[in-house]
């Protein structure tokens, strides 16, 4: 099968759906002429000139206008530039987009997508490195997709482009350039269906995004020690695939949750809670969490490496949980 990059997968998803649906348009900072700050829109350069729009740095209107455009019959895809800057226009997201359908008693359909990069890169420091997906799982009213591979990126995004509910898509900066197999034929990936990226029998790691790759690396390293790790990529957090997680735990009896966002109050804590509520008797050890240390992402390379989790943190957690934690 041919291989394309994560950003090419996004570009293809957009291109295919924009050809079919004239109501799709996309806008944000640095996207039309530059192709996005991390090149995510490069596959779209020169195409659909009226429907790919550079905007002022006005986050509250970037997000709030997506709501207005959706109510007025369009299917907007608004870029948030960096996940950290969602907070600049956050009220339009949590107080407007995520509430209006509910507040109006179901009158509103909201076919809109907010998308953009999150996570660490090379020393981007505290204001350009955040992973904040948990917040959108916590506040009701938006679907959260957080793909880890080009295949998942394309399939999930195409589904998002058919959703009548608002969707937020987090694309990890370090993933844009990775390559992976993506079929030429059209396909869609439904929300709420996890993908078991590696089958194993000893321990389950539930993860997303960049940490899927770190977890797979950890699994390879531990395989040499005879430990068989199952890696479950949730792919979407709202909704999330409880059944696949619990089925995996019933098989392995050990669970690690691993994400780049902060360990304290991160979405992994929610997964861990649900599993102990619904599958406590299947667990042979306490559930362990892997996440960033509870400080901001620092600038200096050794400090960033220390704060953000990687495969070694996952390996340590797995060995600990297999010792009974």
């Amino acid at each position: 099968m041919r291989e394309i990059t994560f950003s090419e997968a996004l570009g293809e998803a957009m291109y295919e759906e924009m050809l079919k649906d004239p109501t799709i348009f996309t806008y944000g900072e640095d996207i039309a002429k530059q192709g996005g700050i991390f090149g995510a829109y490069k596959p779209l350069l020169g195409k659909f000139p009226d429907r790919i729009i550079d905007t002022p740095i006005s986050e509250e209107v970037i997000f709030g206008s997506a709501l207005g455009a959706a109510l007025a019959g369009m299917r907007p895809v608004a870029e948030f530039h960096f996940a950290d800057f969602i907070f600049t226009g956050m009220t339009a997201v949590t107080n407007q987009i995520m509430k209006i359908r509910y507040m109006t008693g179901g009158q509103a359909k909201l076919p809109l997508i907010l998308r953009g990069p999150d996570g660490i890169s090379k020393s981007a420091a505290a204001q350009h490195s955040e992973s904040i997906e948990t917040i959108f799982m916590h506040v009701p009213g938006i679907k959260v997709i957080i793909p880890s591979t080009p295949y998942d990126m394309k399939g999930l995004f195409k589904t998002a482009l058919h959703s009548d509910d608002p969707v937020i898509c987090f694309e990890h900066k370090l993933l844009y350039k990775i390559k992976g197999p993506v079929p030429e034929e059209e396909y869609y990936i439904p929300f709420g269906v996890a993908d078991v990226k590696r089958k194993g029998k000893d321990v389950t790691v539930v993860t997303t995004s960049r940490m899927v790759h770190e977890s797979l690396k950890a699994a390879e390293n531990l395989a040499k020690k005879g430990i068989d790790v199952e890696v479950v990529d949730l792919r979407t957090l709202v909704p999330w695939d409880k059944k696949t997680v619990i089925d995996s735990v019933k098989k392995t009896h050990h669970l690690i949750v691993a994400h780049e966002t902060w360990k304290r109050g991160g979405w992994g804590a929610e997964i861990a809670s649900v599993v102990q509520e619904e599958a406590f008797d299947y667990l042979d050890a306490p559930i362990l969490r892997v996440g960033a240390k509870n400080v901001h992402i620092p600038f200096s390379p050794p400090l960033q490496d220390f704060v953000a989790p990687d495969h070694e943190d996952v390996e340590n957690a797995i060995e600990k949980v297999l010792e009974g934690a």
């Binding site: 348009f25 455009a69 339009a92 179901g106 009213g141």
Partner: protein, 327 residues
């Protein structure tokens, strides 16, 4: 003033209907019949009325926390409005929104808004949609004087100017942001002066004169429909009632309010029409009694309607909630 009797009486009727609705809402709230809190449009009726007389059903508006008048003038059903104020299942939002989040997408009301200036980014997006669809609809974004001090106002004006969007920004300057006087919190004498920063026309008008509102908005709507872009209209008025029903209004003297009662828009227009021979005592009484009857029917409808079943609290979050956990 070269308007037909039918048109002028139509404006008068709309203002009277808004006043009747909000007077009743005030009474019901003080009797403890309405939950939450409500913000009355009393004294500001000329603005919604004059604006909406220029709009088609397929034009959009974004409203505010003080939005009953906008809804009624845009053609909303008073029964469903009143039922929503009561929190009943038959209300516009099935009891989930209340006074501050009332909306009727079928007549282009993209929602009242509990957030000051919250509607302005939404209106900007509706404007983008209209431009992309190449239709000739327009959007009116209502907002108060307090909203003009929020970033969203400035972002939205710049945005709509840059893209020449068909959005008319109608500022209802009722002199108070909650308890704070506009001149103590705002850097400009006239909010319309802020239009200069965004290279769009800005005008200040007498918001208690329904004809002045109608005419100013008429030319702004014509410009917008013809691709001329946004306009900022500041309609100066006065918030005769408190910020919310039950506001102790310690920030102003009763005498000041009494002065403004003398120039409230309905009485003024009534006198003008009478002088022109466009409104007889009989017609006046008929319009008023019809409005009161409509409100009474709305109250009866609301009171006879059931509260929502609790199970409905777990509905209406998503169109497709497959896999979503509500517990």
């Amino acid at each position: 003033m070269d308007y037909s009797k039918e048109f002028l009486q139509g404006l008068y009727r709309t203002m009277v209907r808004i006043r009747a609705f909000d007077s009743k809402a005030e009474e019901l709230f003080l009797e403890g019949k309405l939950p939450g809190f409500i913000h009355l449009y009393i004294g500001e009726e000329a603005i919604a009325t004059g604006v909406m007389a220029n709009l088609r059903k397929d034009d959009y508006i974004t409203s505010t926390h003080r939005g009953h008048g906008h809804m009624i003038a845009k053609g909303a059903d008073m029964k469903k409005m009143m039922a929503e104020l009561y929190g009943k299942i038959t209300g516009y939002c099935r009891g989930k929104g209340g006074s501050m989040h009332i909306a009727d997408l079928s007549i282009g009301v993209l929602g009242a808004n509990g957030e000051v200036a919250g509607g302005l980014p939404i209106a900007s997006g509706a404007g983008m949609a209209i431009k992309l669809k190449k239709s000739d609809q327009v959007v009116v974004a209502f907002f108060g004087d307090g909203a003009s001090n929020r970033g969203a106002f400035h972002e939205a004006l710049n945005w709509c100017s840059v893209y020449k969007l068909p959005v008319i920004f109608v500022n209802e300057n009722n002199q108070f942001a909650s308890t704070e006087r506009v001149q103590e919190t705002t850097s400009v004498q006239n909010i319309s002066d802020r239009a200069v920063s965004y290279s769009i026309p800005g005008v200040t008008i007498d918001g208690n004169d329904v004809i002045a509102v109608y005419e100013a908005v008429k030319s702004a709507v014509e410009r917008a429909r013809n691709g001329g872009g946004p306009t900022l209209i500041e309609a100066k008025t006065y918030r005769i009632k408190g910020h919310f029903v039950g506001d102790p209004t310690l920030y102003r003297k009763k005498k000041e309010v009494q002065e403004y009662w003398r120039i409230e828009p309905i009485g003024r227009f009534e006198k003008r029409l009478e002088k022109m021979g466009m409104l007889t005592d009989e017609e006046k009484e008929k319009i008023k009694s019809e409005a009161e009857k409509e409100v009474e029917e709305a109250v009866r409808f609301a009171e006879e309607s059931p509260f929502p079943e609790t199970a409905t609290a777990l509905q209406d979050l998503f169109v497709d909630d497959t896999g979503y956990d509500y517990y």
